[in-house]
Amino acid sequence: MVSTTAPAFVDIFSLVNLLLQFLDSFAFLVLAAVGLVVIFGMMGIINLAHGEFILVGAYATTLVAVAGAPFVVAVIIGTLVTAVFGILLERSILKYFYERPLDSMVATWAISIMMIQGTRIYFGNSITQASTPFGSISYGPYSYSAYRVSLAFVSLAVLAGIYLVFTRTEFGLKARATIQDADTARAMGVNTERIYVLTFGFGSALAGLTGALYAPTLSMSPEFGQNFLIEAFVAVVVGGASVVMGTSLAGILLGAISAFFSNVYSTFWGRIALLAAAIIAIRLMPYGITGVIEDFRDRRAAGMSVKEALRIPAIGVFLGFGGGKND
């Protein structure tokens, strides 16, 4: 950790350190949030058991890796196990909670508590960890885990993958239609029940992948998933409901804030800054970055110039009307 007394990016090594910290924060925010935002943005369920979906991925991956499978294979298995787990949960419990955000929070919170305690009863307080691949990068007086930095590129690949799934596939088109208007989608021959199951499974798989990828880097306890909750929810609040655009922009903005404060002060201040950013974001952008961009697009579509379209939300925010979309 860098000195807490003064800003320390005076030499090139510190700048490299700041950059790597940013990449690390970005990856963590994006990967922590993607599963949550798919399930919330597409289905209107606020999944408070999100952390425990990550836990399932992490434990499944670790158990397979420790049993001797190559790490990549373990990650794939962990992801698939979580997807199946999510689908079972959706079919048995969560399908009764669509478009009931408050009820869904209580139900998923209960699931979260049961899973944490269940894990403790069955596996005990910790299990043997899988070893971290790749080793570390050293530069000047610093070193950084190469694996964690590589996750930045994985997170970009995940975002690209989600984008392609929702914009380029038959499933994505039907999912977007179902989310916009389930009745009409059904009247167009879309089996909306199946779309809900698959979307939930997809969101669960993403959470499982996150758990799988971070399994070697964090201690394997029943509270594993709790590490991700703050980042996940802050990223969703700041990003808004759009999966790819909201999450990636939130990752860049919050990653920069978190990296700067962690690097210059301490990890503790990094987290404080993250939460402060979330509070300010809720005040200025009730629908997150997504809301601001959609508002801007709507204004442009209504024939305003770029300047006008930018000005009005800004004035609205200033007067206290918020900058969110109207519908």
């Binding site: 009764y96 038959e170 088109l173 039907k174 977007r176 239609a177 916009q180 208007d181 009745d183 009409t184 989608a185 059904r186 009247a187 167009m188 021959g189 879309v190 089996n191 909306t192 579509a301």
Partner: protein, 270 residues
């Protein structure tokens, strides 16, 4: 016979909307259902497509019973149990779990794939999808649909080809109506269900849409069931017409009677 409804009853929760509706549509016909606001016109079409399941009665589509189609004893049993539960808040919830949409009939997505093209009231195009994506969704209904159907739709509505990549939500009401009809057409339906096509659209466009539907009926052999309270459109389009009042069919008008403006207007007067 294309479509036949026999003593169909349907309700939202405890509120009955349709009572003992009897009507039929022959192949190649354009049949109108007219009536004032709130008599159950939209509910009638929703019950046909299956977004709302009939509580009682029979709906047959091309000879196939949709209210009980392909369902075994288990479904009939669930239906019976559900109807026993209905009537209280908790009971309605139990019934809803047992039989989603309120009945054990064929679900809307299956009816759509079976050959019904539904154009909801207010169009309900998917606003955030492009024109082309909206059309592609309609295509999903029909496994063996091909690009010719797109050419056909673009032939009827050239504006849709010009605006292919535009978001559907940014188009005018009339254009959205054309898109909704086009979306149903690419599914190559046998029966078109059209819910108040004139609503909120300027008169010249209403006229054009009426003529387009007539053309489709002739050129594509498309059977049409539409509900409407626009007198001109009913007279332009309908071969035959039913008058709906308080959830039930009160009269049937043949082509001669449809010529008589005053007789028709009587059923539309507020």
């Amino acid at each position: 016979m294309m479509l036949e409804m026999e003593n169909v009853t349907a309700s939202y929760g405890k509120t009955p909307i349709l009572r003992d509706v009897n009507l039929h549509v022959d192949e190649g016909e354009i049949v109108g259902v007219m009536g004032k606001n709130g008599v159950g016109k939209t509910t009638l079409l929703k019950t046909v497509i299956g977004l709302l399941q009939a509580d009682a009665g029979t709906i047959r589509f091309e000879g196939e019973d949709l209210t009980d189609a392909g369902h075994g004893r288990v479904d009939r049993f669930r239906n019976t149990v559900a109807s026993r539960f209905r009537g209280s808040t908790v009971g309605d919830k139990v019934a809803e779990r047992l039989v989603p949409d309120g009945g054990a009939g064929t679900t809307a997505d299956k009816r759509a794939r079976r050959g019904m093209g539904y154009i909801p009231q207010g169009r309900d195009v998917f606003p955030k999808l492009t024109v082309e994506q909206n059309l592609r969704l309609g295509e999903g209904v029909n496994e063996d649909s091909d690009d010719d159907l797109y050419d056909l739709v673009y032939d009827y509505f050239p504006i849709l080809e010009e605006r292919k990549t535009q978001k559907a939500g940014t188009m005018s009401g009339g254009q959205q109506q054309m898109l909704a009809i086009g979306r149903a057409l690419v599914g190559n339906p046998d029966l078109l269900l059209l819910d108040e096509p004139s609503e909120g659209i300027q008169p010249s466009i209403v006229e054009q849409i009426g003529e387009d539907v007539l053309r489709m009926n002739e050129e594509l052999d498309l059977t049409v069931l539409f509900v409407e309270q626009n007198l001109d459109l009913v007279q332009t389009m309908a071969d035959r017409c039913y008058a709906l009042d308080k959830g039930t069919v009160v009269d049937e008008l043949g082509s001669d009677e449809l010529e008589d403006r005053e007789a028709v207007a009587e059923y539309l007067a507020v």
